[in-house]
């Protein structure tokens, strides 16, 4: 018989670990966290001014953080997909979203297609040094005239003997200035519709690759964003990544991983902003008490915490499906949409709670607010996600 003593009593301090994580993930988390706090976070301000140095990638390669779920035969750690979630979450502790994005483009956007679609030769040439942090990767999809509408891509690769000759331009390319190689989406058969795209691994020092402007942005200042031009760039046919004509499908697959990692980053970023704001609300006094003790503010925190947790659970469950061999495009789109909107709402609410202090640079909230906004645009806008979800139901 239950008595008052053995009835469940609130114990808010207890942790509620998610079943996808095991003990080795906790150890990895500690290790990344310690690195991020010691070696990255102290430089965040400086890197916001002048973008982060390439040495960060080299150092992360040295520590084994760049190939967490890549096979050991290529220098990876041979871990599961959840290790990448841990990296994405812990990187937010650098308070330098541009850096987080630059690293994620390397590890979770450009690298997976090389691993999955690359020939053994291509893997030795690019994957192995990328995992070591010796070569930096970027990914080229968007063009001045084609974003979400991938079908509008104009960059052409034309067969010429044993080579392909590439002409066109790409924009908003993260890591575009520092990268050694680009995973480039081109059109190889303009009459074949979605079956007319192919990917190439193009060395960024190949003649005809021109790194044009360094684009200025609303946020994500620590990352470098490039406008690139390709003028008669000649690459051997062996530079083609994956199957000819399958480029569209390859890149759609890539986008799923990108979106899921992005969702994890949004959750962690929102949590980070939330934690700082909670601390502020307990310190800052108005009308004789900490502002967090006013019901209006307290309820804002309750709403934020709920949204963050919902986003986290969507992301974890979708990652679980993904790691178990599913290709859950609908759920990934949902997680991406929900977490991006949630993170923007949370950072905005945090700015509101901080008041004037939040508007000032010093507290880092205005930066988070600016940085976070990209998530509703990049990797497929909110509107594209809604369309993908709606169409997945046959609408």
């Amino acid at each position: 018989m239950a008595t008052a003593e053995n009835v469940l009593k609130p114990d808010f301090g207890s942790s509620s670990k998610h079943f996808i994580f095991e003990e080795h993930h906790d150890r990895l988390r500690e290790s990344i966290r310690s690195f991020v706090e010691r070696e990255l976070a102290p430089h965040a301000e400086e890197w916001e001014e002048q973008t982060f140095p390439d040495s960060v990638i080299a150092r992360m390669g040295e520590l084994g953080f760049l190939g967490l779920s890549m096979p050991e035969q290529y220098g990876g750690q041979g871990g599961d997909y959840f290790c990448n979630l841990v990296l994405s979450e812990e990187m937010t502790r650098a308070d330098c979203a541009g850096l987080t994005m630059g690293v994620a483009v390397h590890t979770d956007m450009a690298m997976p297609p090389i691993h999955l679609f690359g020939s053994e030769e291509q893997k030795q040439e690019w994957l192995v040094p990328a995992i070591k942090g010796e070569k930096i990767l970027c990914l080229g999809i968007t063009e001045p005239d084609a974003g979400s509408d991938v079908a509008g891509i104009k960059t052409r690769a034309v067969r010429d003997g044993d080579d392909y000759v590439i002409n066109g331009s790409k924009t908003y390319i993260t890591n575009g200035h520092r990268a050694d190689v680009i995973v480039l989406v081109t059109k190889t058969d303009p009459d074949a519709g979605y079956d007319g795209f192919s990917l190439f691994l193009v060395p960024m020092d190949a003649p005809g690759v021109i790194r044009e402007q360094r684009l200025k942005k609303l946020g994500m200042h620590a990352s470098d964003t490039a406008l690139l031009a390709f003028q008669d760039v000649r690459v051997p046919a062996t530079a083609m990544l994956g199957q000819e004509g399958k480029g569209f499908y390859h890149i759609m697959w890539e986008l799923q991983g990108e979106r899921l990692i992005g969702a994890a980053g949004c959750v962690a970023g929102a949590q980070r902003c939330f934690d700082k704001t909670l601390e502020y609300a307990l310190e800052r006094e108005a009308f004789g008490r900490p502002i967090g003790k006013f019901q209006a503010i307290r309820h804002k925190f309750a709403d934020m915490a709920t949204k963050i947790e919902a986003g986290r659970q969507m992301t974890y469950m979708t990652a679980w499906r993904f790691a178990n061999g599913e290709y859950p495009v609908r759920e990934i789109s949902m997680a991406k949409l929900f977490t991006a909107q949630m993170a923007c709402e949370v950072t905005d609410e945090c700015l509101q709670i901080h008041g004037g202090a939040g508007y000032m640079k010093e507290y880092g909230i205005e930066r988070a607010w600016r940085d976070m906004r990209l998530n509703r645009i990049g990797a497929g806008s909110d509107e594209i996600m809604l369309d993908v979800i709606g169409r997945s139901y046959g609408l």
């Binding site: 509620s16 979400s148 079908a151 790691a323 061999g325 290709y327 997945s392």
Partner: protein, 418 residues
């Protein structure tokens, strides 16, 4: 490759594309209902309950809504399938299962197309019998739990009063100690199943000062002198369920009807709150799933401006938003259910799940209404529309019952030290 082609391709073209990042190749899609904590066994239970609901409840929902009542025999039918005691031990006539089995039942009951029927059954299973099982003496379990599992005695939980709701410390219904028992005076209100209940698990003040430390629970039975149903309340929704205002005038309740320890009633209330809230969240998730299905069906059939309304982008996006709200609520609800089932403290997650899902369900129902237009505002038209207007009304109780949104936010805010 016309306008919007790439969006189309992204939405559908690559759905069947095979490669995976995972270590396990291939793999069949995992149905949400079989994601942890649910297993394949739960899938079988689910199929059985679904067929029962479709056979015995759904066809009568309209009639019961009109009559503002569903017959007591429903409990007998549920008992016949073993559904009233899924989580209780076999020695009391239960199925020897656990909370997860009840979770399946709660989700499937939402399919009966009447929030009132689901609530009426839910009150018996989810909030009224658990305290008897957890806190009752062996003798009390034999007298009340065993017949409740058999569907022979219907139970209700009586906490709320005309003068107090979420603030349970304000309970005024008073039980005065007399020789051999108590004499109860006071009133309870908003008691689901209270009109038909054979036994009401009733919160009473047993010390003059009252408050958290002065509450006890008494099992008050139909037919006890001075105990009456003073009013059957009319409501915005939940029409098929009976909601009572109860009056207690010098009701003598014998010693053997004290449930749990004297003056420790507050813990009894707290003990079941988590499960009640998870159950509400599960109900909302199931209701949203149903609304989404109904709306998809309608949006594909209903044509305007030369095409199905679902092919207009504004409607497509509205439906997508509905689906996202459902999925967010489901993820959070299943997480809290997993923690609760594992015996972990899940107050934070349960509170969040309750808060998010009830509000989401109201929004989803309102979106469904908007997409159905006039066909949603009127009562169900056979073959044309579903009873969306009923769902909108029924789900509105979610942010109020089981602790209001505002109370949930207080719990969460205080947990953060605010």
């Amino acid at each position: 490759m016309g306008a919007g082609g790439a969006e189309g391709a992204e939405g559908a073209g690559e759905m069947g594309y095979p490669p995976s990042l995972g270590n396990r190749a291939g793999g069949n899609p995992i149905s949400p209902a079989q994601a942890p904590p649910f297993t394949v066994d739960h899938g079988e239970l689910r199929a059985g309950i679904r067929s029962f609901v479709e056979r015995e409840l759904t066809p009568y929902a309209d009639e019961w809504e009109r009559e503002r009542w569903f017959p007591n025999e429903v409990f007998g039918k549920l008992a016949g399938e073993g559904l009233l005691g899924l989580k209780y031990p076999e020695e009391y006539g239960g199925a020897g299962g656990d909370y997860l089995d009840d979770a399946v039942l709660i989700e499937e009951l939402a399919g009966c197309n009447s929030g009132g029927v689901a609530a009426g059954i839910g009150a018996h299973i989810t909030i009224a019998t658990p305290p008897i099982f957890k806190f009752g003496s062996e003798e009390q379990k034999q007298r009340f739990l065993v017949p409740a599992i058999r569907g022979e005695k219907i139970a209700a939980l009586g906490i709320t009063e005309p003068g107090t709701g979420s603030d349970v410390a304000g309970i005024r219904t008073h039980a005065k100690r007399v020789d051999g028992g108590w004499v109860v005076n006071g009133a309870k209100t908003f008691i689901t199943g209270g009109v038909r209940a054979d036994v009401v698990v009733t919160a009473v003040k047993t010390s003059p000062e009252g408050g958290h430390g002065g509450l006890s629970f008494l099992l008050i039975e139909k037919g006890m002198e001075g105990f009456s149903v003073s009013k059957k309340l009319e409501k915005l929704g939940w029409h098929a369920s009976d909601t009572a205002e109860l009056a207690f005038q010098d009701v003598f309740v014998p010693d053997e009807n004290l449930l749990g320890e004297e003056n420790k009633g507050f813990y009894l209330i707290m003990a079941n709150f988590q499960w009640e809230r998870i159950a509400m969240a599960l109900g909302a998730v199931a209701a949203m799933r149903r609304l989404l299905e109904q709306t998809l069906d309608y949006a594909k059939r209903r044509e305007q401006f030369g095409r199905p309304i679902g092919q207009h982008q504004a409607i497509r996006h509205k439906v997508a938003h509905m689906a996202v709200k459902l999925e967010a609520s489901r993820a959070l609800t299943y997480h809290s259910l997993r923690l609760f089932h594992d015996g972990q403290d899940a107050i934070r997650e349960v509170t969040m799940a309750k808060l998010l899902s009830q509000r989401a369900a109201c929004e989803v129902a309102d979106d469904a209404l908007q997409i159905h237009g006039g066909a949603g505002y009127v009562d169900a038209i056979p073959g044309v529309s579903s009873s969306i207007q009923r769902a909108v009304r029924d789900l509105r109780l979610g942010p109020i019952g089981g602790g209001t949104d505002e109370v949930m936010k207080e719990i969460l805010g205080r947990q953060l030290g605010l």
